[in-house]
C-alpha cells in the first residue's frame, strides 16, 4: 500500500500540451477515479504514473520516494489495460503466472498463488484455455488476476470495463468494488463513464483538457459541481442548464422565474437536476412551458418541457401521463438545490437553497 503524489507534473507531446502543470495526491488505500471525456489526458496521466510515458517536468512520488527515473517494473504497480493486453500465445495460467515467473518466485509457490488468485476472480476452471477462447468478461478477469497476483501496492486501471457490454459492466463494477474493499490497495482508475466513477470512487478527479477541474468525493461532486463543465458531465440524465439573466433578485428566462441571491447580471446559467424537480399543475411554478417529450425508463418517466429556447427535464412518476404540447409546470422538491454559473467562464456563482 502506498500514497502517490504527482507534483507539478506536466506532459507535452512536441509542442502539444496534453497535461498542463498540476499536482494530485492519491491517498493510501483510496480508489481514485480520473473522469473526463475522451482525449482529456486521463490515459496520459496514468501512463506517467506507470512509467510507460516520460514526464516533461515535475515529480512522481510513491511513498515519498521520487520515482521519475525508475522503470515500470520497479514501481510496484500493476496495470489493467482497456483491451486487456493479455499474452495471446499463453494460457490463462501462464498469463497469470508470468509476473511471478519474472520475479523469480519458485514453481510450487507460483502454482499456489495462481490457483488462489484465479479462484478469487472465478477463473479456476479456465486456467488451461487461451485468451482467444474466453469471453470479454473472462478476459477482463484474467487481466485483473494478472494484476493482483503480484500483490502490488498500486493498481492502475485504464477504462477496464469499456469493452464489455452494458450488463456485464455493471456486474464487473460490483466485483471491482468488492475486490478493492477486500484488498484495500491504492487504485487509480480511468474512465469516461460518470456512472462508473460515481459508483466506484472514493474520490473523483474530473478532468478537462488535461486539467483537473474538480477533485472531491462523488457525493460532493454531484451536489456541488465546481463549474458548468462538471455540472453538465455528472449525472444521468444530466443537469438542466438554462441560460438567462438575473434582475431584481430573480433569475429569468422564457417561462422561468427563480428567486436567487445575486445582483443583477446577464449571462447566467441556472442548473437543477431532473431528479430534484417535480411536475405540478400550479401555473405559478418557477418553470413552465409545453410538454415536449415523455420517456419511460422503467422506474420513472423523464418529462421534458420546452418554452422557446428553454428546455427542462424532470424525473416524474412512472405512471405520469399527459398530452404532448399541453401546458406543463415544474417545481423543485423540498431540499432541492439550484446552481448558478457564469455563462462565459463557466465558474460557479454560488448555489442557493430553495
Amino acid at each position: 500500500m502506498a500514497e502517490v503524489r504527482l507534483v507539478d507534473i506536466e506532459k507535452k507531446y512536441g509542442s502539444f500540451l496534453a497535461v498542463p502543470k498540476q499536482s494530485l495526491t492519491i491517498h493510501d488505500g483510496e480508489f481514485l477515479v480520473l473522469l473526463g471525456p475522451s482525449g482529456c489526458g486521463k490515459t496520459t496521466t496514468m501512463r506517467m504514473i506507470a512509467g510507460l510515458e516520460d514526464i516533461t517536468s515535475g515529480d512522481i512520488m510513491i511513498r515519498e520516494e521520487r520515482i521519475n527515473d525508475k522503470p515500470p517494473k520497479d514501481r510496484d504497480i500493476a496495470m489493467v489495460f482497456q483491451n486487456y493486453g493479455l499474452y495471446p500465445h499463453m494460457t490463462v495460467r501462464q498469463n497469470i503466472e508470468y509476473p511471478l515467473k519474472l520475479r523469480g518466485i519458485a514453481k510450487a509457490a507460483r502454482t499456489k498463488r495462481v490457483q488462489e488468485t484465479a479462484d478469487k476472480v472465478e477463473l479456476g476452471a479456465l486456467l488451461d484455455r487461451r485468451p482467444s477462447e474466453l469471453s470479454g468478461g473472462q478476459r477482463q478477469r484474467v487481466a485483473l488476476a494478472r494484476a493482483i497476483v503480484r500483490t502490488p501496492s498500486i493498481f492502475l486501471m485504464d477504462e477496464p470495463l469499456s469493452n464489455l457490454d452494458a450488463k456485464l459492466r455493471v456486474t464487473m463494477r460490483a466485483e471491482l468494488k468488492h475486490l478493492h474493499h477486500e484488498l484495500g490497495v491504492t487504485t487509480v482508475y480511468v474512465t469516461h463513464d460518470q456512472m462508473e466513477a460515481m459508483t466506484l470512487a472514493t474520490r473523483v478527479a474530473v478532468m478537462r483538457e488535461g486539467r483537473i477541474v474538480q477533485l472531491d468525493t462523488p457525493k460532493k461532486i454531484y451536489a456541488e459541481p465546481a463549474d458548468l463543465f462538471v455540472a453538465g458531465f455528472i449525472g444521468s440524465p444530466s443537469m438542466n442548464l438554462i441560460d438567462g439573466k438575473v434582475s431584481d433578485g430573480v433569475f429569468r428566462a422564457d417561462g422561468v422565474n427563480v428567486p436567487v441571491d445575486l445582483p443583477n447580471r446577464d449571462g447566467v446559467v441556472l442548473g437543477i437536476r431532473p431528479e430534484e424537480l417535480e411536475i405540478t399543475d400550479d401555473a405559478t411554478a418557477p418553470i413552465g412551458g409545453q410538454l415536449y417529450a415523455l420517456e419511460l425508463t422503467g422506474e420513472s418517466t423523464l418529462v421534458t418541457l420546452r418554452n422557446g429556447p428553454v428546455s427542462a427535464c424532470a424525473r416524474g412518476h412512472a405512471d405520469f401521463e399527459a398530452e404532448i404540447n399541453s401546458p406543463c409546470y415544474l417545481t423543485p422538491k423540498p431540499g432541492a438545490r439550484f446552481h448558478l454559473f457564469d455563462r462565459a467562464s463557466g465558474e460557479r456563482l454560488d448555489g442557493v437553497k430553495h
Partner: protein
C-alpha cells in the same frame, strides 16, 4: 434460357487465354517429360520412353549436385534473410524521422533487377579492381588478392549474400506489417510485469509473430528454390559446378544441350519439390491459425 448461359459465354475468352498460356504449356511439358526429344535432331517430340528421364535424373551426378547446391543455397539464404529482416524490423518499428528515412532507402535493393545485382557483385568482388575485394583487402590484409569468385565456398557465400541483400528489405517490410498488428499493450504489460527487453522480444513479441515469420519463410523458400538470375550473371554456376542451382541446371539441359525431355522431367521435379513444401507450409499455417483463434 439465353440469359442463363450468357455469363459462361463471356467467360470463354478468359478461359481460353488461361488455358493457352498456363495449362497447355504445363500439360505439354508434363507429357514431354515422358518422351525422348533432342531439339538438335527434331523439331517435334520423339517417342514415349516411360519414366526413363526421371530414372536418369536419380542417377546423374550433375543433377544430384545441383540438388545439393540448391539445398545449401535455400537453407542459408532463407535463414539469414528471415533473421536479418526480423532484426531490422525490430529496430525500425518505432516512428521518427530517422526511422522513416531508413525505411525509404531500405527499399532500394529490392527495386534492383536480380540480373543487375549479379553483375554488380561480380565487378565488386573482382580481385583486381572490385571495390569490395579491394576494400576488404585494405581493412584485412589477409584478404588481399583473395580470388573471391574462383573459390567454391566463397562463390556460394557471395551468391547467398546477393540474395540476402536483395530480399531482406522486402521481408523487413512484411515483418514490420506483422509487428504493427501486435497490440502495444502486450509489450507494455510485460514491461510492467518485469520483463527485460530481450525477454519482451523473445517471450512476447516473436511468439506473436510466428504466423508472419512462417509466411516470410514460405515465400523466401519458394523464391530461393528458383534462384537463376544471379547464378547466370555472377558465377555462371562455377567455379566448376559449385553454384549450379537446379533452375540453372535445368536451363542448361534444355537450352544448351537441347535435351527437352530430360529438362521437362527436371522441371517437374522442381515443381514437385515446391508443391510439397508449399503444402507442408500451408498445413503449418492452418494449424497455427487454429491455435491462434480457436
Amino acid at each position: 434460357m439465353k440469359d442463363r448461359l450468357l455469363p459462361y459465354w463471356l467467360l470463354i475468352p478468359a478461359f481460353i487465354i488461361v488455358l493457352a498460356t498456363t495449362i497447355y504449356p504445363l500439360a505439354y511439358s508434363f507429357i514431354t517429360s515422358f518422351r525422348d526429344w533432342d531439339l538438335t535432331e527434331s523439331r517435334r517430340p520423339g517417342g514415349f520412353v516411360g519414366v526413363e528421364n526421371y530414372a536418369y535424373a536419380a542417377s546423374e551426378s550433375a543433377f544430384l549436385n545441383s540438388l545439393w547446391v540448391t539445398t545449401v543455397f535455400v537453407v542459408t539464404s532463407v535463414i539469414l534473410t528471415v533473421i536479418l529482416a526480423v532484426a531490422l524490423a525490430l529496430l525500425l518499428r518505432r516512428t521518427g524521422p530517422m526511422h522513416t528515412f531508413t525505411r525509404i532507402i531500405l527499399i532500394l535493393p529490392f527495386a534492383m533487377s536480380p540480373a543487375l545485382i549479379g553483375v554488380s557483385y561480380r565487378f565488386m568482388f573482382n580481385p583486381e579492381f572490385g571495390v569490395l575485394a579491394q576494400g576488404l583487402g585494405a581493412v584485412f590484409p589477409a584478404l588481399q588478392g583473395v580470388p573471391w569468385l574462383a573459390d567454391p565456398l566463397l562463390a556460394m557465400g557471395i551468391l547467398v549474400l546477393t540474395d540476402v541483400w536483395h530480399w531482406t528489405p522486402y521481408m523487413t517490410f512484411m515483418c514490420l506489417g506483422g509487428l504493427a498488428s501486435i497490440p502495444r499493450e502486450t509489450e507494455e504489460a510485460a514491461r510492467i510485469d518485469g520483463a527485460s527487453n530481450l525477454r519482451i522480444i523473445f517471450g512476447i513479441i516473436l511468439p506473436q509473430m510466428r504466423g508472419v515469420i512462417l509466411v516470410m519463410a514460405v515465400l523466401k523458400t519458394i523464391f530461393a528454390l528458383k534462384m537463376f538470375d544471379q547464378v547466370v550473371t555472377l558465377t555462371g554456376g562455377g567455379p566448376g559446378t559449385s553454384t549450379e542451382t537446379l533452375a540453372y541446371f535445368i536451363f542448361n539441359v534444355g537450352f544448351r544441350w537441347f535435351d527437352m525431355g530430360y529438362a521437362s522431367a527436371l522441371a517437374w521435379i522442381l515443381t514437385a519439390i515446391m508443391m510439397f513444401i508449399s503444402i507442408w507450409y500451408v498445413r503449418m499455417l492452418l494449424s497455427e491459425r487454429k491455435m491462434a483463434t480457436a
